[in-house]
Amino acid sequence: MSGALGPFLLKRLALSLLTLWLLSVVVFFGCQVLPGDPARAILGPLADPRAVAALNEKLGSDRPPVEIYLSWMGGLITGDMGQSYAYRSPVAPFIGSALVNSLKLAATVFAIVVPLGIGAGVLAALRAGRPIDRLISVAGLSLTVIPEFVSSIALILVFAVLLRWLPLSASWPAGSGPLVQLQHLILPALPLVIVLFGYIARMTRAGMVEALSADYTRTAILKGLPWRTVLSRHVLRNALLPTITVIAAQMGYALGGLVVVESLFRYQGIGSLVLGAARAKDFAMLQAGILTVGAFFVVTTLLADIVTTLLDPRLRTGGRR
């Protein structure tokens, strides 16, 4: 790796950590305005106030907010994400399983949308200006803007209610094999595929059009290289750069944007975990959940930067960034 890359990455990393820390502070103080308290959330509205006070003391949730934050932060530095108030056990396993679930769904989404989107984009660029290009552009543009819950309903109606091909719920029976899990994941994945398809196809098309008209492409063709080689070695390689950035950025979105889909398909992902924790006033769970989403976003953005930098040495010197 060249000398310029190290400091650049270090700076990005430092900024990312700063962002995450600020996020934790914002969330923490945001938490303070949520109505109710943890013991009240556990015991319900009808519980005796003395019981609520006693339980808050047991849980440690009656301490001053700053103290709670500091002790949580201290724990986090040593790798302890804290204790859930509602479940009275460490937060980490909950975050872990929710994250795994969300990642499974996100992986299904990307496994479908990346080949589909890039393929459509390449096709559109190669047939630029022709009807198929127009069709892909308009379809991509229209699909991208459809809210997940709207497309979900349409998909559910067709595939789960009418045709009964796919299960309606994303939660598979305990102990199901990967194939059954996949079957349950397809329907929830499709709404996100629909949203992301347009972005990826458009970015790919734009990159392709630029690369096709670039000097190096013309030179390669003039050199007499076969079209296939030109396409794979010169055009695609350069055209996919911006697409990779878009895909990486969308991964962070997908993870949190799953909230709606998770709620529709009753899926226990990180989005529903965050919402549930906010409702239960489960401070450590909420913090850890939000930071996980934030960290995922920051990491994917960082990765996108690194990949872009590696593939495009011009950026390393930093003019555009």
Partner: protein, 292 residues
């Protein structure tokens, strides 16, 4: 970015007018714009006038005729408490077409202000505000909006402000970029030399010159505002019952879907999709027309 210089002409107002005329002409020749604007106008007409021409009171329940399939009497059937779905779908345009534009306005105004300030002053102001904006942007908008609405409780003004504010960072980013290209131009320097105050330079000198990107950003945001508010209504944090609203109707009737009562959701789904596609077709065409 090569065309930047109508700004140095003696009468920038005239040039802007001519440019506007050109844009409108181009737009009217674009089929996707015409389709988009027709859909939008259709729903706008419904939003304003539907209550006076729909066959039933969209609020009136009829508990003895619940979940009736589409018929001559009820074109789109009835919902779980016997309300006429057709009337509710048409009147349903009203809530979303009131809240979404307002939220967009809040977001665009706030975002423009932030963008102007960070872009114009730069330095540590830019660094601090930029960092805070990045924090906001590192979370999916819908999660931020949901958390705030859980805390504050949903009401129309709250939804407008919350959605507006979560959009502000995005607008600010665009505006900041536009300001950065402007602030080193001569006319800004000239104004500074004249001794004009910073607010004056920002609002009177720079702002008129960056309106095209702001307009584009605004129309794109409008599409997303409809998207976000419909999603929030679906999650129970947007438009509140019993107001006819598409997202809310889908949420309310989703539970009976497996019973085969498809008409309780399918028309609201189609309405939401058509409105959003319409707005985006129009926005995209406008964006292109302005860029040409």
């Amino acid at each position: 970015m090569s065309e930047a210089l109508p700004l140095t002409e003696p009468a920038p107002g005239l040039a802007r007018e001519a440019r506007t005329r050109g844009v409108v002409g181009r737009l009217l020749r674009t089929p996707s714009f015409l389709i988009g604007i027709t859909i939008l106008l259709f729903w706008a007409v419904c939003a304003v006038f539907a209550p006076s021409f729909v066959p039933y009171d969209p609020y009136a329940d009829d508990l003895l005729n619940t979940l009736q399939p589409p018929s001559a009497e009820h074109w789109f059937g009835t919902d779980q408490i016997g309300r006429d779905v057709f009337s509710r779908v048409l009147v349903g345009a009203r809530a979303i077409l009131t809240i979404a534009p307002l939220a967009t306005l809040v977001g665009t105004v706030a975002g423009t202000a932030i963008g102007l300030i960070t872009g114009y002053f730069g330095g540590w102001v830019d660094a601090i505000i930029g960092r805070l904006l990045e924090v906001m942007l590192s979370l999916p908008l819908i999660i931020v909006a949901l958390l705030v609405l859980v805390a504050l409780g949903p009401s129309t003004p709250t939804v407008v402000v919350v959605v507006g504010l979560v959009f502000a960072p995005l607008v600010a980013r665009t505006v900041r970029a536009a300001v950065l290209t402007e602030r080193h131009l001569d006319y800004v320097a000239a104004a500074a030399v004249r001794g004009e105050s910073a607010p004056y330079i920002m609002s009177v000198e720079i702002l008129p010159n960056i309106t095209p990107p702001i307009i584009v950003e605004g129309t794109v945001r409008l599409g997303y505002a409809i998207f976000t508010i419909a999603s929030l209504s679906f999650l129970g944090f947007g438009v509140q019952p019993p107001t006819p609203d598409w997202g809310l109707a889908i949420a309310e009737n989703y539970g009976v879907l497996i019973g085969g009562f498809w008409w309780t959701v399918v028309f609201d789904t189609a309405a939401t999709a058509s409105l959003i596609v319409g707005v985006n077709l129009a926005a995209e065409s406008l964006q292109r027309a302005l860029a040409e």
